[in-house]
Symmetry: C2
Subunit: 288 residues, 2 copies
Amino acid sequence: MLRRALLRGKGFPGWWSAAVFGGIGGLRSGGILGGGPDVITFTGAMRSRSRPDWQDLRMTSAAAPKKDPWDLPDVSGLTVGVLGGTGDQGRGLAYRLALAGQRVIIGSRAAERAHEAATEIGHGVEGAANAECAERSDVVVVAVPWDGHARTLGALRAELAGKLVVDCVNPLGFDKKGAYPIKPEEGSAAEQAAALLPESRVTAAFHHLSAVLLADPAIDEIETDVMVLGEVRADCEVVQALAGRIPGMRGVFAGRLRNAHQVESLVANLISVNRRYGAHAGIQLTDV
Amino acid sequence: MLRRALLRGKGFPGWWSAAVFGGIGGLRSGGILGGGPDVITFTGAMRSRSRPDWQDLRMTSAAAPKKDPWDLPDVSGLTVGVLGGTGDQGRGLAYRLALAGQRVIIGSRAAERAHEAATEIGHGVEGAANAECAERSDVVVVAVPWDGHARTLGALRAELAGKLVVDCVNPLGFDKKGAYPIKPEEGSAAEQAAALLPESRVTAAFHHLSAVLLADPAIDEIETDVMVLGEVRADCEVVQALAGRIPGMRGVFAGRLRNAHQVESLVANLISVNRRYGAHAGIQLTDV
């Protein structure tokens, strides 16, 4: 965790100075080994004359975080809406968040379907039409099919104004060779949401969870990391804290919305993993 | 691991039948909740009328793997060349593979630089000019800067003919907001390699390793998964086996080359993670 990393950082001033000196601003395009000043010092016999790779791009001292990144807000009092809450992913998330004690309202185009699904899920979950779900919620998770993503959000612009929106949609196509990413014109589903909802606080998260594992009442803990993306740190921290309410889960900040497409698209790779290994693959980040 | 997943699969015939019935071919574009037949049955109180999500897209029975996906070839006798072996990533990989007992030749534009770096790394690593490195190797890892990717590979087409090429280049750009993916015209660095090397067997792997951790002689094990992409299963299995030679590492098949861009691009997110948490983040796949 952070402490470990900091201790290591202190133990290896070479990397840290490389990081400080080689702050992002100083780098140019060029990929994994491209850009960056000639300052990294390898340990042991591994002296290197070459440039630091991306792993050495650390926060500059000037921009060093003023707070522990694991110090997250208390979100237990927030009401979470789940648009597409009658689908497998939305339903599974609603179930887990409600189990964790969160107040959850699932939304659907048809209020009746939402009510039925909410009754099935139990644990105090309520159902409502999408508009009411959005209006009554503090945080609104978007778990609708990619097909209906733009249409659904475009119609809820007013209800979602001022809300913290969490997009977890993965735009994918399928053919005989399996799954492949669809790149939305806006860059990603999350960026499409941000474009359609200028008055909302849009983040992206919960892309890599197995609806099957989420829904399985025999499973108490889901050991996985939730990559949380967004432009505003406070908003991302709320989503990270929400993810952390689910036993085994951890919310990890993983970049700005312009880096959402690859996070959404990675599901195509997880599908390949599932098919080869008969698994329900998820992601964990190491050394964090 | 696989056994766990298979047992669970047997325990939940609902998913399996959903998978078999909903084989990839039967799906249409539409993203995480889009496409797919209406067959998934949820466990417990979670009956669902909705469609299976991507986590339920399993190998169809007809296409079920005939072998244990963890049954990988013995690669201990193969010589591994590392183009860009004087850079941090290539150097770190060469060091770890040599430590594991692999015969390694690092390549550089200048033979002398390669010889110097090889001497510094030790453990029997040899150095050579890129062309000789390619010619003398069975497996050739491409760890050059993205800037020089096309130029380097284009010049080695003859030497790389028939070789197993492992591309681990991450095309990234950097600006004040951090890192962002660069999308090559061919779709990814790996697909560019495949286009430039029609007579080679091109795979992609080793994208998410920390050069810093690879190079640190105080670190014995690097607990991470190496996502291996490619078109030919036998070629991917050689790369998976190579990754598995490094203590703590596991090579996992993660899709075709057309799904390489998001794997390469995910490094932009790992950079954000590293900066926020002061880490050297890597990836592990859960439930696999």
